[in-house]
Symmetry: C2
Subunit: 230 residues, 2 copies
DNA sequence: TAAGTTTAGTGTATTATGTACACTATAAAG
DNA sequence: CTTTATAGTGTACATAATACACTAAACTTA
């Protein structure tokens, strides 16, 4: 049963707001330099057109891989932006996704569509093409809101991490200092971390214990209605 | 600067999940009976195609008005559904919105596109066309999550309401009983309600005081980072 | 090898918030 | 004026949030 009338249709794209964290205590954003008009040479979010037989999230993952080499990461739908005029080529609706990634385990290689792919500190972003500034602002708001009551922050850390790293992550996202003892008590009480018999290496001072996020325990606690507020 | 290549494009629609409440302690959902194929005669969410020069929210409001007569209500973007195959006519991406409405102040009149528009209790919904069941489930989840930390529930009540009505609303949405004294203390402490010098009428027992939601105070408190958890 | 430097790791007292719980007040109906 | 139905109120107890400072361990360097 095909469409009986054909209407003029908006173009549909996906865009990805990819947040990353490495050793520096600064949240970073992945941006690409556009190879083609409009806005050729300017910075923009990785993204592109939705394929006719592709699910939306699938499109987002494909574009991200094509343009930045990033694959297999946490990705969640953010919001859909569709104001007429947001793309000079004509009516375009974009479904925005946001992603979290641990930089030290995911090298980035600019590819095909993009001339260049780079990490910028979220507090020092260049002007972005289209309405991408607004999309990033929305993503930051979502991230800050969500991290407060869902432990998504682990996605930004290596698989094994110290409690100090975890605390710094929360401090960066929430933009406020946290008390070490209170933070540890709270996060350990959630009982979703496994303390490993391993310690940090290569530091010129006492080595910290490593922990791992326990996805299974977390899923169980969710079902039981447990509260993960920080 | 027009598009240089034209791709085949998905169709883009909006769908509205409209929750309503009247005197019965039951959350209701607005559904329409489809006048045309596909799924002619079946129940579905109000919605339709996005106009080429229309913002997404504008489309949602227009469709809602055309199909149900409902206008000027709380409306917020929910999620975008785009799995290939979700519409038998061909690839269709729908941007879903959810709305809250006070039934006693908003009569519903089925119009044009829809044969019939009706309220169903959310716990006794008929099978819905397309993937609309899933969209409703997502909306319910969002409503339950959101009502816990944002006072959006007022949208479901008349402008002037009693604290008992407000409490019942929370009990309906959260599906659990709340303590009267604790509830009142908490909600009044937020200081976003105005106690009126007016009382309920027409009840065969002591009349309850009426309150009004104070939008200005609420906006101020939001800016000050106030917490509205129930 | 002792002293210095740097971060890891730990407990307690105080305050604020959440929770559980039952009676009196008021208005209308009969 | 008694009955019925809902409105409206306070307190004691348990739990959670907050503020705060020292010792432990590992490496560096004199």
């Amino acid at each position: 049963m095909p469409f009986t009338y054909e209407y003029p249709r908006p173009a549909v794209t996906v865009d990805c707001v990819v947040f990353g964290l490495d050793t520096e205590p600064q949240l970073k954003l992945m941006v690409i330099q556009r190879a083609h008009p409009p806005f050729a040479g300017e910075w923009a979010l990785p993204g592109g057109f939705v394929g006719m037989d592709e699910d939306l999230e699938e499109s987002a993952r494909r574009e991200l891989k094509e343009e930045t080499g990033i694959d297999h990461i946490f990705l969640e739908q953010l919001y859909t932006f569709g104001k007429p005029g947001r793309d000079p080529r004509g009516r375009t609706i974009t479904v925005a996704y946001y992603a979290l990634i641990n930089l030290s385990e995911h090298p980035v290689t600019a590819a095909s569509d993009a001339q260049d792919a780079r990490w910028f500190e979220v507090n020092h972003l260049p002007k972005l093409a289209f309405d991408h500034d607004q999309i990033v602002a929305t993503a930051l708001q979502r991230l800050r809101g969500k991290v407060r009551y869902q432990p998504i922050g682990f996605e930004l850390l290596p698989r094994k991490f110290t409690l100090t790293q975890l605390q710094q992550l929360y401090e960066i996202i929430l933009e406020k200092p946290l008390d070490k003892r209170n933070f540890r008590r709270k996060i350990l009480k959630m009982d979703i971390l496994v303390a490993l018999e391993e310690y940090q290496t290569g530091v010129p001072h006492r080595a910290a214990r490593l922990y791992q996020f326990d996805e299974k325990k977390y899923q169980q606690k969710i079902k039981a209605g447990f509260n993960f507020e920080i």
